[in-house]
Symmetry: C3
Subunit: 325 residues, 3 copies
């Protein structure tokens, strides 16, 4: 499966948003705005995926990219004016992001999400979801609007699935939560009133097995992804924007922080933690209880906290123990 | 919100308990009992909160406190007779505690809890709870007797809330359990037959955001408290009697043991553990995967296990690695 | 309670399996097969528990055992022919195991499990389960086929129980998952299409207290066992085939990997991890956040990762800190 999706599958347009509405919406937070045409905005882009008729929020100076005319840049860095003509400059980018996204999109940290459920065999399944007839939903599960579940999947009991697309033969065990909003907010502005809206998805590829009491958070804008044939044990937490390759094996109680990218064929022990925004190569092995804080090359085998080459880690352990006697 | 609550909000009096009933109830466990008046006991006090018409159980010699006549001390330390006149001495305090509390109070490790639910939009909501009309309860959630939910809250799906008071704008994500009984028992007398009844509450202040699959246990006697604007990530465990200040940020899979007190504005990484009964100051930062075993002063920044100043921790790591080569 | 159970309590025979059917089922994976009588196979054995009319899969050369005529050995090691006459040799043992078990047994990673629920007081309880009338099931819980619940148990809300036998006075708190299939697959053949069927049970002895959001996986063939009077805190993960003795105390967020055997009277702190297939003696104490990687003798007190004697661990910590200054 690829990582694209149509946001309209999950919810309708909340309000038609013409670009000139920005001024009214952002008020004194807006310093400067330039646009040639009063285009309609219906979506949001990231630097990874540019979507038509969208906003893109830039918190860095981006010098090497060019967007279509129907993509409007919003940034707090006026230097970006040198690189983009279709642009608005704001004082507080996070405030602008929150206000615009709450106006444009429904999401599940707001109470007005438009959904309607059918109660069937003990579970609630949205009228607006697509569950293939060969797939089976257990009891007390909730399948929300827009969710798509492929062939021969087994969703067990008390599972919640929102904002997610599942391939074929996916198994999700009891009490797991897939596609809920992740931990997205400004460190300096805490509390539910200042959440950064999370409006991305979770995509789970074919033949993935997910254990009990797992949480896989929806991406902020794009998708959180679990690759084909991956095996996820119980109580694994996968944060927003994480991308996991094919054939991953992740043991119980491991946590993967936001925006980590993991290659194919990794084997990860239990109770491992990954710091956010790092890249893990292919065929990497991470011993149980490790804390991975940096990028790891293909074929690395690491252990410890901070995680290092497992041979070094073992040597260190032996040395420490000698010193201890 | 303050930390007071009325226990009768959650359940009625189980049986009228006059102080002279102690002798019959405790039998040979009671060594000595003195009371001027045959008062009625309806509640329980802790050294933090003295309540009228209550028992207070003392496992230390308390020399500097004075209680009203309607507060009856129960202790296994006969020296306390020197400081209190309205007092009973028992051989085994924990046994007395369990017997008295099981007689006085309903709690959810007993099967006779008097509740009655209304099924509404997929969730079960107690007839004896108060949910503000602006708040939204998802599907397959359970809101038990006495629970109070303020304005504009969002309780998502498969959430269980008991014995709890929530302020305004509180968000609780899928599969979380709020207000269940914690890990309270004598280390020397294990098993469900010897549980120490947990009859306190959970109080969650305004604008708190709680992730998926979290557990926040009710206090033993008083309240477990999460302060205003706090952000709690997924799979965070908060044990009984924990007090967390305002604006906390606590990342995924962190566990906070019983009776920890945490100041305002803390930032706590993922997979952190806190030992029980310690005090954490304001503005403290705890790096991911730390194990905090001691009190921390305001503005501490710590890492490692046992957690120490993060600069020391980094130095140690570098030294160990040098030794390792 | 003992560790025996009747697999037919949980599901009927899926198909009558005569031994000569093996040839057709395994096709080219079967190298050699010898049996005197065309017996019917209805069950599966392990080296721990031999059951009549069963297959037993051997991945080692076993020289010192003798089985009844109605127990048929399947192995990938042709040397086993020297020790067993009633035997089949296959090329790929795991493939044979999966194919045979999926043919013989229903299990909950397949969609055809035959069950039928009655909705009662908010929970779904299988027509084919036995819940003692003195026990209480909360709301949104699921009690599946064959489950047996003894006297005076309290199953709280949103709990899932499958493939399990519970004694008397067992308490299971909100959002826990008991008896789901564990993390069983070949490391070299990942994905839901190659799962090793898990068809064992969970047995929970009298007076056990299990917290919120715990997961206890069913055994692969025999049982996962939690001994009498054990106290299990929140978010504890107990993997398949784990055996825990009496009076265990296991604090929150601890994880116990597959096939660990733990003696009586252990005390285990929070966030501890146990590597798979190790033996832990009686009266062992494991400090919080430890990672136990090796067998532990009776009365051991350990800490750290890899866990060592707690006194050594403390000495090491002090030395490291000195070096750090």
């Amino acid at each position: 499966m690829n990582k694209n999706f149509n946001r309209r599958q999950f919810y309708p347009i909340k309000s038609i948003f013409k670009i000139d509405f920005l001024k009214k919406l952002l008020e004194s937070n807006l310093i400067y705005s330039n646009f040639s045409d009063n285009i309609i905005i219906e979506d949001i882009s990231s630097l990874s995926v540019i979507r038509p008729h969208s906003f893109i929020f830039l918190e860095d100076i981006i010098t090497n990219r060019e967007f279509d005319d129907n993509v409007h840049v919003i940034t707090n860095l006026s230097q970006n004016k040198n690189y983009f003509t279709n642009i608005s400059i704001v004082k507080n980018l996070s405030e602008a992001y929150n206000k615009i996204l709450n106006t444009l999109f429904y999401h599940d940290d707001q109470s007005d999400f438009p959904d309607e459920y059918i109660y069937s065999n003990g579970s609630h399944i949205s009228k607006y979801s697509k569950v293939h007839s060969s797939s089976e939903i257990g009891i007390n599960s909730v399948i929300s609007r827009g969710v798509e579940i492929g062939e021969n999947c087994i969703i067990k009991n008390n599972v919640v699935i929102k904002n997610s697309i599942l391939g074929n033969n996916v198994i999700i065990s009891d009490n797991s939560s897939i596609g809920t909003s992740g931990f997205g907010f400004d460190f300096n502005k805490r509390g539910s009133l200042y959440l950064n809206p999370q409006i991305g998805t979770v995509i789970i590829d074919d033949n993935v097995h997910i254990g009990s009491s797992c949480t896989i958070d929806r991406a902020r804008i794009d998708c959180t992804f679990v690759g084909k044939n991956s095996m996820i044990d119980n109580m694994v937490h996968i944060a927003h924007n994480v991308i996991i390759g094919k054939n991953a094996c992740i043991a119980a109680q491991t946590g993967i922080s936001g925006s980590v990218v993991i290659g194919d064929n990794v084997t990860i022990g239990g109770q491992v933690g990954f710091a956010g925004h790092i890249n893990i190569g292919e065929n990497v092995v991470v011993a149980a209880k490790s804390g991975v804080t940096k990028n790891l090359n293909d074929n690395s085998i690491v252990a410890g906290f901070p995680a290092i080459d497992i041979k070094e880690w073992k040597k260190n352990i032996i040395k420490q123990r000698k010193h201890g006697h």
